[in-house]
Each structure stands twice: as C-alpha cells, then as structure tokens.
Assembly symmetry: C2
C-alpha cells in the first residue's frame, strides 16, 4: 500500500529520547518534593534534596578518584542510608553497584570481589572481621572505604584509610550525571548461588531497573508518599528494586539494620509505615512478638513476601494483626520479583485452608514481564494448564537480566530457546497461575537465602570419613527450609553429626550449615544416580 | 581501571528484550482477567477475553486485506467500543491509527486523509454527511468501513460496502501479533491545529505510548480494576493514552457517545466510576445538572482536567459534589498530558481563592517526562524561577512525539536545542511549578478544542469587505475561551457581524466560528505589527 512515510525524518533526538534509568526518579523527587523526608535512620532524617545532593557527591567523588563507566563498586552494607545513596551515586558516575550478601563467608566474598573486578569497596564496620579476611584472600586491591554508622555505632576495625563521609566531602553536590549513555548499560551486579559452589554474577541494566521499579508501584499499589520499612535486605536483588521504586513515588525509606520484631512494630507506628517486604521468616518474626509489646495498627499494612509460600498459620496471624499479604515470586535473574499472586476479591471469603492454598500459588506475570509459562525444557512447549503436569518455569521480557558476567556459556544456556530458564519446576493452573512444585537446581531456601545443596555436599565430601553425601531441603516452620544432609561413611570410618557440622563451618557461611545429619545408605537408581526425591520425602518425615 | 567487562557477551536476546508497547497490557489483562468486564456501552458488556479477541480479529482482517506495517488507518468514531478496539487491532498488524476529530469540517478531514495517506477509513454513521463530502474532496481512495452502532442507532447513510462487524468476521481471534518490530515504530498519528491552517501530523511511537500509559496509572493513582468513564474524546491525543492505560490496570471502559450531564451522573452510579477526564467544559456540564436529577456519590470520584485552568467556582462546585479534581497540562506533541499539578496535602485547607490559584498552575513533569522548564527560546537558558519572568514552556523526554509527519522543517524547529518548544508562554515558580500566561502560537482553546486564530483570520480576510482582521481568545465561563474577532473594514465597504460569521461558516468547522466581532481600528506597533496583547485586554472587558 502506501510508502513507508513513518520512517522518514522521525529519528531519535535529545528532545524525544532519553535512556530509561531509575536515576531519573530521584532527580524528579528532589525537584518536586525537596523538603519531604526521604530517609529515616535512628534519629537521622534526610530530605529528598539532601539524598540527591549526597548521591551526587558520591558520584562526583568516585569520578574524581578515577572510577567511572563499567567499573565495579562493591558494598558490604546493612540497610542503612549509604546503601540507598549507593543505589544512585554509583550508577550516576557510570559505575556498577555490586551489593554483597552480608551473610557470606570470606572466601566467597573474595571470589566475588575478584570475579567482579571491584575497584572500590564500601564496607560497614560491623562486617570488618569477614571483610578483612576476604580482602586478604582476594587478588584485587580495591579502594577501601569504611562506613561508620553514628546512629548505631559498631566496633569493627577500620579496613581502609578513608571514611564514607570523608569521601562524600570530596565530591560536589552539583554533579551532573552523563550516564547511562545507553539504557542497556549495566547498573548493578548481583551474585546468586547456583548449582556449583562458584556464584554467578547477574548483570542488571538501567532499562530493566526502571521498568521493574515502576512495576512495583503498579503491583503493590504504592501511593505517592508511601512509607517503606526496610525489612528486606537491599543486597537481595537490589532490594527487589525498591530503593528506586520509592523515589518514583517520593516515598520515605525507613532504614533497619536488623530484623527485630519489637523494632519493626515500633517503627511502623512511629513513621506510619504503609509497605514492607521480606521472606516468610520476617512474618514469623513479627508474629513472635508477645502481646505485651503490641498495639493495633491504625491502617492495613501491605506486606510483600517471596522465597517460599506463606504458610496457612502465618497468613491467618498476619491478617489478624492488620497486614495484607501479597505473595510474589522471582529470582535474582529477574530483578527480584517478576511474578505476583494477583489476588481476586472473590477469593476473600474462602475458608482459610482454601484461601491459603490459593495464596500459596506463585501467580501471574508482572505488568512489565512479557511472558511467563511452564514448559518442557527439551521441547520448549508449554505443559497442559491442568495444575498437575510438571514443567520448568520460564520467563521472558525486559525485566530479565542482561546475562551472567564473564560467563557466556551459562548465559546462553539460561536463555536457550528465547526464554529464561528459571530452574524451578512447577505447574500451571487453568486460570494461568503458576505454582512451584520442586526445583531442578539443587537449591535450599532458608530464611530467604539461597543455599546450594551441592556446595554443602562439597564441604562434607572433603571430610576424610565421608564416602557419600546428599543434601536436601527439610521443611522448617521458622526458616522455611533448612539443609538436611544424608551421609554414607567410609567403611570403618567414624564421625559424629556435631563433628561434621563443625567441619562444614570451616568451609561455609553459618546459614548454610546442615541442621540435620542422617547417617544412612543413599537410595540410588539402577545407573547409580542418587534419588534425591526419596531423600526429600524422608527429610519431611 | 578495569576493562569493560560489562560489554562482553551481554547483548539483547529474545529472552531479555522486547520492544515496549501498550499492546502488551491488553494481552496480560486478557490472560489474567479474561472474564472481567472490559467494555460497557449502553446495554452491551464485553469481557477482556472478548475485547482481545475482537482486536485480534480486526488486526487479522486488516492484514488479510493487505494493510500492514506503516499503513495508516483513519477512524471517524465517537467514544464507542470500536474506537477502543482500533487502539489495539490497528497497531497489532503494524498499521498506524489516525483518529479524526469528529468536529472537523470536510475540507480539513480531506486534507488529513490525503496527508496521512489513509489506506482504510472506519467511520460511524453519525458522521456520514461530513465524511461523504470529505471522501469526495480527498485524493486518496481508502477502503471505507461503516460502523453501525446498534446500541445507539444512527441514521447517516452507509459510505462503504463493508460493515465493521463484517470486517471483524473476516479475521481470526487467534491472530498472533509480530509488531512492533522496534519500539520506535509509529503507533498513532494525531493532527493538531497549529499556527497555519494546515494541521500537522503528530506521530507517536509504541515506546512513548507504553510509558505515558503507565505514567497515567502513577499520576492518577489508578487502582487495579478502575472504572473509567469516557467523557474525554478518544480522538484527542488518543484519549490521553487512557485506552491503553485502562488495560494496564485491567479496568473497565464505560463508553459515552455524547457528554450529557444526566447520563454522566447515571453512569457513575450504575458502574461505580472511579475516574474520568475532560476539559473544564465537562465539569461545567456536570455541575449544570439540576438537583432533582442528582444523588450523592458513595465515593470520591477523580476528575482529571486539562485545556484550561479550572475556575474557582468550578473547583468549589466539583468538590461539593464529591469530585477530586487534578489539573493536567499537555499538548498533542506529548501524548496528551505530561505535566501535572501535583497536589500537596498542606494546601488542602487554604481559603478557596488561594486553593484555586494553586490549582490553576499547570504544575510539574510527569514521572516519565525527563525535563520541563520555562526558557528563553533564543538563548535556551531557563528563566528565573520567580513566578514572574516569562519564557516558553519546554519539554524533553521519552513521551515527546517522534516528530511531525512529512514535515522535517517543522520537526527540526520544534526540537531546536534538544527540547520540544511548546509554543506556550509561562512562568516558573520557586517551587518548580509552571504556569501558562499566554501562548506564543495563536491558539484559542474552546471547550477543549484548539482553534488557530490565524485560520479564523484567513477566513475573514477572504471576505471582500474585510481589510484587516485579528482574532484573539475571549474568556468564557462555559467554553473556557471563544474566538473574538477585531475587524477593520475596507474604506466604504459594509458588513454586519452576522454576515461575517455566516461567511466564516462556509470555510470553518462550527466550533471555530468567532462568537464576537468587534469593528474597530487595530492597535499596531511602530513597525505595523498588530498588538494582540492589547486586543486580548479589550476582549476580556
């Protein structure tokens, strides 16, 4: 028909094209709500103007010290103001934020610093013991900056020669950002524990962070001025992108160094918290608070949970205490949550067991996720939508990672057939809601943390008395799951459960240690493969 | 410092990159809420599944008839279900939707059909008289499809040989879209009346439509399942992108052929309307309803208005009737609204005159608009933020149009210096809120419609008795503004006001006709330029 009139003289210009970036959100919030409280931490209050100025100072100071486009800035920080500032200041100068899991052991941290080629490390004094060891083990020599939390003083030694506040003082609050040049540029690097003991570096870009941050507003119905309590670690998938989301609604961050029931309760009252996130363990913690410490909340409080389906008793307890619980699902590779159990009002009045059964489903895709399905990974065909046929959960769209850093093979494998292979096994119901049933990767989720069963097995195998070991998840009321090890000893060898756990403690972070050790023959297939599903059944018993 | 590790093997793949498009929103809504009511029109109800199927049929049928990538589909439709379907079905097959202003005269419509090179025209029988004439005048020979509104039967003759429902019957409801190939591809074409009598074709892309549609959710706090009443014409900047926004929240469209106070009132009650938009004239219409026809609304209803600042009396009346009024500002070139009077709670209790004065400001940028400022267009430097210094309102970012169709010169002029030049003059206050003070382009906004004063002047100049004519806006309680013409007759010539208005009626659409004609000498500068600001002062009196 007609010529291609829409291709003529209608290209991109500075007037009509800007790379998408969540950095824009903070700039806008600081413009429109300069005086609104952006950050609360202990007795500290900082306005949006101050937050933006401090982020600009950070970017400016980093740039002056030669840190720039494509450099990695690693941070070992609790949920404190610098952690929020780093989510803006680091990418503002073109660098990439690598937030370290504060629960990791020194060897793993050293591996990550080396693999990510960290140029800078910002570290809270609380984590000095692990970080000192990690720095000694690592090959890289980053510029080390200590954060001294004056609101909650820590006693760890200083590892560097520069303090975080001194760094900021070097920068200019009028710094003008020139990054990202392209919305596909990296903004963050997050290491996930995979099937092997070496974690993989998941790379996020500005485009995906912008879209997922926006989608959180839609999915969680965040109003302008929402008050968000930091019960979710910001090192987990960049706090599910909420450090950026909160700026999009000019909301208030309420920082929290440690998840403590009474503190959470008091902060909700003091600041009028409207939203918080966390693994089911956080809900259990909230519910553990004795009645003496409680008073009712004036409004419904929105709790977004992920990592494991919320148990029936937890749902009932949370509802009673005035929380509205939304179940999300995601992985590091999809910026945190990208699937939501969209709740339909017609389910509100179901009996609790049916209510909990529906709430346990992982749900449907986020608005910005283009595709979600359960497929046969060999044929890449969707399984029947019958709530029974198992397949692998696959995701596709703009909120899927750029890929794994320096790991082309793993990236290609993960993206085979045009979908991200989650490694989680599940079913899909006739109404399109998915539910996880098992994991194809050997991952145990304990207190919201991923633990590789293979990594724990590797530690056990190193013990001279161990012939074979298989580690599976054991359901746990408090932690969701804990690692349970089945061990065959070498003929004539001897070892106690306590001895093996202590042994593992020399190789693994504390949260990864097996809680139960069962000495037993391992069930095998005719070809000699260990039948883990049988062990999982036994662990449940 | 480190090598560019983030550039290696982390490119775009089908798993992690999809062109942004608002078409995704409908697909998701139909997946998750297939049974929810998407469209209400008279006694008609259509679910999200049905809406999606009909949009797919439309795309499929158009494609079968050879319509595809980069072709223009023009529509002359009221706010009816086909208009919503066209917002999805047309771009789904790669074509571009050109929604015609139903108030235009035949000559202008013919110009637009020719300029946009329309391949297809879908036209409501109500508009048959104008469209018959327009088709006779136009050089293009589009496929003409009549829409016969069975809910509200119209008597106009059929202009084509194919009915809209028959077209849909030709298509498949399983059609799979392959467009857009690139998010920069055009999705819509909207003609604006500019400074000259030939309208300019503003081209929107999928990316911008996606972002503005999402931003409406943030800006207007649209909850999932919002109920939206179509008081705003969908031919205006694609209904400010709300045809797409509503799918993002799986809300309900309540169609409306004509703005009538009693109908609006009744539909709000019947369907639990939560949001509606329109020019101040719509609010005046709502308030004109006699008390006998009214009953109070159970909830606050959100009314988004643009086109002119809401007058004090209107704000007071709307508040009394249970409406929360948000003042937006935008232009066709920025997808409708891109500026919002973000309301701060501390202003709630101000005396009405101060409240209205603050509400009259156009406000601050949308979340997805990257930049908004008031500048000296010669130096491109921002004016002082003192609420007094005049400059031109400039906008920049991803929700600015691709450009003007087949008009490179106008596009380049509009985007000079990396900003979109709005042509509106205004000031910016110390708090960053902008307020329009005048227009540098000679535009009169009457009942939400832009009227080019030059076009009206051109019509007057054609009259044999007219020596000189200058048309300016005259403030009007009902319409916001109306055209007021100042005329110098030729020596010895005679003409009455009625005669001149009738004369203009032969050249202009009815809504553009001058309401007042003043015979007078025109004030001029020393160089002979007509001093319109003086005439505006006189017109106010």
């Amino acid at each position: 028909m007609s010529g291609k009139i829409y291709d003529r003289d209608l290209g991109k210009t500075p007037a009509n094209h800007v790379p998408l970036s969540p950095l824009s959100f903070l700039e806008r919030a600081a413009e429109i709500f300069p005086e609104r409280t952006a950050v609360v931490h202990g007795a500290l209050r900082r306005s949006y103007l101050a937050l933006h100025q401090r982020a600009r100072r950070l970017a400016s100071a980093l740039e002056s010290r030669g840190v720039g486009e494509g450099d990695t800035v690693a941070v070992m920080l609790a949920n404190t103001p610098p952690m929020i500032e780093c989510h803006y200041g680091v990418p503002m100068c073109g660098a990439v934020l690598n937030a370290l899991n504060t629960r990791l052991d020194a060897a793993t941290v050293a591996f990550i610093l080396d693999h990510g080629e960290a140029s800078v490390l910002i570290t809270d004094r609380e984590f000095a013991p692990v970080m000192k060891e990690a720095l000694a083990l690592a090959k890289v020599r980053p510029l080390v900056i200590d954060f001294d939390d004056l609101e909650f003083p820590q006693s760890g030694e200083r590892l560097g020669t520069l303090d975080y506040e001194a760094l900021l003082a070097e920068g200019s609050e009028d710094y003008m950002r020139r990054f990202p040049r392209d919305e596909w540029d990296a903004i963050a690097l997050n290491y996930t524990s995979g099937t092997t003991s070496n974690p993989k570096g998941v790379v996020y870009h500005h485009r995906g962070a912008h879209l997922l941050a926006t989608d959180n507003v839609l999915t969680c119905s965040l109003p302008n001025g929402a008050v968000y309590l930091w019960t979710l670690p910001m090192f987990h998938c960049n706090g599910w992108c909420f450090p950026w989301t909160i700026s999009a609604v000019a909301g208030t961050h309420v920082c929290l160094r440690q998840v403590r029931a009474q503190t959470i309760h008091d902060l909700i009252h003091e600041h009028g918290v409207t939203h918080l996130c966390g693994a089911p363990i956080v809900m259990s913690s909230i519910m553990s608070l004795p009645d003496a410490g409680k008073k009712p909340y004036p409004n419904v409080i929105n709790f977004m949970t992920a990592g494991a389906p919320p148990p029936e008793a937890v749902l009932a307890g949370m509802r009673e205490q005035g929380f509205n619980v939304t179940h999300l699902y995601g992985l590091t590779e999809v910026y945190g949550p990208a699937v939501v159990n969209v709740w339909k009002s017609e389910w509100d009045d179901l009996p609790l067991n049916e209510y909990a059964a529906l709430k346990a489903r992982q749900g449907v895709r986020y608005t910005m996720l283009e595709g979600l399905d359960v497929m046969d990974p060999d044929t890449m065909l969707p399984v029947a939508r019958d709530g029974k046929t198992m397949g692998e959960v696959m995701l596709r769209g703009n909120v899927v990672m750029k890929g794994y850093l320096k790991n082309k093979a793993a990236t290609e494998q993960a993206f085979a057939g045009g979908w991200f292979h989650s490694g989680d096994l599940g079913v899909i119901y006739p109404d399109g809601y998915i539910q996880l049933k098992d994991r194809s990767k050997d991952i145990i989720i304990s207190g919201g943390e991923n633990i590789s069963s293979i990594e724990v097995e590797d530690a056990l195998y190193k013990h001279p008395a161990v012939a074979n070991a298989a580690v599976v998840a054991k359901p746990d009321d408090k932690w969701g799951e804990t690692p349970c090890a089945f061990v065959e000893l070498k003929p004539g060898a001897q070892a106690s459960a306590e001895e093996l756990i202590e042994w593992c403690g020399q190789h693994l972070a504390r949260y990864k240690l097996p809680r139960h050790i069962v000495f037993s023959d391992l069930p095998r297939t005719s070809t000699g493969k260990i039948q883990k599903f049988k062990l999982r059944e036994r662990a449940k018993g």
